[in-house]
């Protein structure tokens, strides 16, 4: 028994030493349930020499969170659950995105050849056909798209591999206009293939060159993208939005794109170089192997205020992998220090509200007047421009001209208004203001020539709305 234990301990020790040399990488951080249950999922890939490192347990990992990138700020957080080979049960959704620009019709050394079989595109097709046969998990889905100046989709991820094989035959050599390599734009387009698909998603992009903008070189508008030049950051944004990892394969000889490795790294994927058919076949299998053998760690997030929360996964107390997720709240970050004087604005607000509540919007006094409701037109009062309200006096008659275009009003017996008019005068016997007009006018929407005016009566004269107000007496 003792011997067995010793052998087991020795095995574990050797295994641990072996694991020290491993490379750890966070492929994806899923914080979509953070608000709901405070949990964050980290998909972790552990490799050694590019090959997935299997057999690790929860004890091999530690998770830390920090509000800054400083090593001293990282706090260990408990791992709630641990899963191996996370996506075997749900399957993986791949999109094979293949470069179909002009250079793909050269051989591996970059020389154009009449031998179709030696062309890069032909090699890629053969490798993909073999790869499709090697995918055994029935839950895995694979899609196919190609790109050059344009992005062309042949199939969204599907379980029907025959369909993909048949689609490979449909890839046609590009014409001169299609020779460009729109990598960044095509990655943004490729994201759309995953819109309705859930679960682990990856784009495997194979390219033999650099991003080459059609519109910038040709100095004319692209048929699909117009003048827009897609930046590599837009590809990253689109992929992160859909939780897609990009795995890049630089194929054949020649200059490669500088930002493709950045896109792969930022989205949780990685970049491989393949200079032969066998190497290319190996890369496809390795990428699938990497995803299948990811570890899924779920932990409880901290509540420390931060706009971005930095996550560190530590393997065997030695190798670290860092990523971050968005953790800002609506109000943002708190300030340093805290003053009790903050109570003052709150009290001020209460005081202001109390003062407002004491305000009365009722008028307490006011004499008889005519109010002009409409702002349009001119009111001429005793030869001068009048205001919105004209007071009435018991002693003087108020004469309003009719038919002059302007609202002419006069209380001055010396200023005669020619033509038809309406007179408002106080009648002592009736103890009321009485309207007398030389021709009918509308009062309260009814035509009248004479009327004892009541407070609130509305006169329509020359398109103007005039309100007679008897006024209110002071309480």
């Amino acid at each position: 028994m003792k011997i067995q234990k010793s052998i087991l301990s020795a095995f574990l020790f050797l295994f641990s030493i072996h694991a020290w040399a491993a490379n750890v990488r966070i492929a994806q951080i899923d914080s979509s349930t953070l608000l709901l249950n405070q949990k964050v999922k980290a998909y972790v890939s552990v490799t050694q020499g590019g090959i997935p490192f299997k057999g690790l347990t929860k004890k091999n990992f530690k998770v830390f969170e920090s509000v800054t990138k400083k090593n001293s700020d990282y706090k260990e957080v408990p791992i709630i659950s641990f899963k191996k080979g996370t996506d075997n049960e749900r399957g993986i959704n791949f999109l094979l995105l293949v470069d179909n620009s002009g250079s793909m019709y050269a051989n591996l050394s970059g020389r154009y050849t009449g031998s179709i079989a030696q062309r890069r595109i032909a090699i890629a097709k053969r490798v993909i056909t073999t790869f499709l046969k090697s995918v055994k998990n029935p839950r895995d889905k694979i899609g196919l798209a190609v790109f050059n100046t344009y992005y062309t989709s042949f199939s969204s991820p599907t379980g029907n591999k025959v369909e993909i094989e048949q689609a490979l035959d449909k890839i046609k050599r590009p014409n001169k206009e299609q020779y460009y390599t729109e990598i960044y734009a095509s990655l943004c387009m490729a994201v759309d293939e995953f819109r309705s698909i859930k679960g682990r998603k990856a784009i495997i992009i194979l390219s033999d060159g650099r991003n080459d903008y059609y519109s910038a070189t040709e100095r004319k508008s692209h048929k699909v993208f117009g003048k827009k030049l897609y930046k590599y950051t837009e590809s990253i944004k689109s992929c992160l939005q859909e939780g897609i990892s990009v795995f890049a394969i630089n194929f054949g000889a020649g200059r490669k794109d500088n930002y493709l490795p950045v896109i792969a790294n930022q989205t949780g994927g990685t970049t491989f170089n393949a200079s032969s058919e066998s190497a290319l076949g190996l890369m496809y299998r390795r990428i699938v192997d990497l995803i299948i053998n990811e570890y899924q760690l779920t932990y409880k997030a901290t509540m420390d205020p931060a706009e971005l929360k930095h996550v560190r996964i530590r393997l065997n107390n030695r190798n670290n992998a860092d990523r971050y997720y968005f953790s800002s709240t609506i109000f943002g970050l708190p300030v340093e220090g805290f003053s009790p004087l903050l109570i003052l604005p709150f009290l001020l607000a209460l005081l202001l509200l109390w003062l407002l509540s004491k305000m009365s919007f009722d008028r307490t006094k006011g004499g008889p007047a005519l109010d002009f409701l409409d702002g349009s037109g001119t009111v001429v009062f005793n030869g001068k421009k009048g205001g919105a309200t004209m007071p009435l006096t018991g002693s003087a008659k108020t004469v309003i001209g009719l038919g002059s275009g302007k609202t002419m009003i006069s209380t001055d017996p010396g200023l005669k208004i020619k033509g038809d008019n309406a007179t408002i005068a106080f009648d002592k016997t009736k103890n009321a203001y009485v309207l007398n007009a030389t021709r009918p006018i509308k009062v309260n929407n009814k035509s009248v020539q004479t009327k004892v005016l009541q407070s609130g009566d509305v006169l329509n004269i020359e398109g103007k709305t005039i309100v007679f107000d008897k006024g209110v007496e002071e309480k």
Partner: protein
């Protein structure tokens, strides 16, 4: 209170509400790390934010109508609905922020565009629920619609202002205060603008102590009378019953029809100097209830 004054008043209430909420918000976020989860933290923030915003906006009807009892009931109902609205609004706003934040976080313009836009969308959702407070209190679909639109626009514009204040003003506390004031002001402003646009017109008092007051017709049934329970209270006029008349607003496809109905056959309403029990109003009709006179107009 005229419509222009009402608009200014709602902006003022929004400003005061923003001022009241600011120290509460500063205190709450100071203790973020003491909360167990983002869920409880968001619920708590929504609760206090909704409590004060809802409570303050709830006073507006009572103050404009000069009815003390309505101010108190407005505070209570506004606070209760505000709490519910604040919690839901904060949760949706925070969820939207987390979602959009993840999308924008890798953008090169994250600080200047992505972050403020993500956060202001969160604020817009919050604005919707704060704006709905009065509509839910009044059980009015038109007012709820007004609140949704006005609150969303106010929240979005106010939220953007709040976020860009942080970029313009170094002191985060001052930036947040100015931002919250603008947020409250814009909710009030957009609410009043949308209120005008969606209304079926306005009832303007032509005489007496309430002369110049304008009542926006933005709910299906508007009761008029002496009692404080009415939507239009005319208690300084003679021959007015506790519940005297009711305005009924019917929505057709592209039009709204407003009719007035007397609630007591003995006391009919007078429209254009003619006694009526029931009458469909047209523009510039003069309505008399007791000694009070109103002019029905479009805004």
């Amino acid at each position: 209170m005229s419509l222009a004054m009402r608009r200014m008043f709602l902006c003022l209430i929004g400003l005061i509400a923003g001022l009241a909420v600011w120290p509460i918000a500063e205190t709450a976020i100071k203790f973020q790390a003491n909360f167990n989860s983002y869920l409880f933290f968001s619920i708590f923030l929504g609760l206090v934010f909704g409590l004060f915003m809802g409570g303050f906006f709830g006073t507006s009807e009572g103050i404009t109508l000069s009815i003390k009892r309505r101010i108190l009931t407005g505070i209570v109902t506004g606070a209760i609905i505000g709490i519910l609205g604040g919690i839901v609004g904060f949760l949706i706003g925070q969820a939207a922020l987390f979602l959009l934040g993840e999308i924008f976080v890798s953008s090169s313009t994250f600080k200047t565009i992505g972050f403020p836009v993500a956060r202001s969308i969160g604020w817009a959702f919050l604005g919707i629920f704060i704006g709905m407070v009065e509509g839910i209190r009044a059980k009015s679909r038109i007012k709820i619609k007004t609140g949704i639109l006005g609150g969303f626009l106010g929240g979005l514009v106010g939220g953007l202002a709040l976020e860009y204040m942080r970029l313009l003003i170094d002191d985060i506390m001052i930036a947040r205060m100015v931002g919250l004031l603008i947020f409250g002001l814009f909710i009030g402003l957009f609410y009043s603008i949308v209120e005008s646009k969606l209304s079926a017109g306005v009832f303007r008092v032509l005489n007496g102590r309430s002369k110049g007051k304008e009542f926006i017709l933005n709910q299906r049934r508007v009761k008029i009378g002496k009692s404080a329970k009415n939507d239009i209270v005319i208690n300084a006029y003679s021959n007015v019953l506790d519940e005297h008349a009711m305005l009924i607003i019917k929505e057709h496809k592209n039009d709204k029809e407003v009719s007035i109905k007397s609630l007591n056959a003995t006391f009919p309403v007078i429209v254009n100097d003619v006694k009526k029990d029931n009458h469909t109003l047209t523009i510039n009709d003069v309505v008399q209830i007791g000694t009070a006179k109103f002019l029905y107009r479009f805004i």
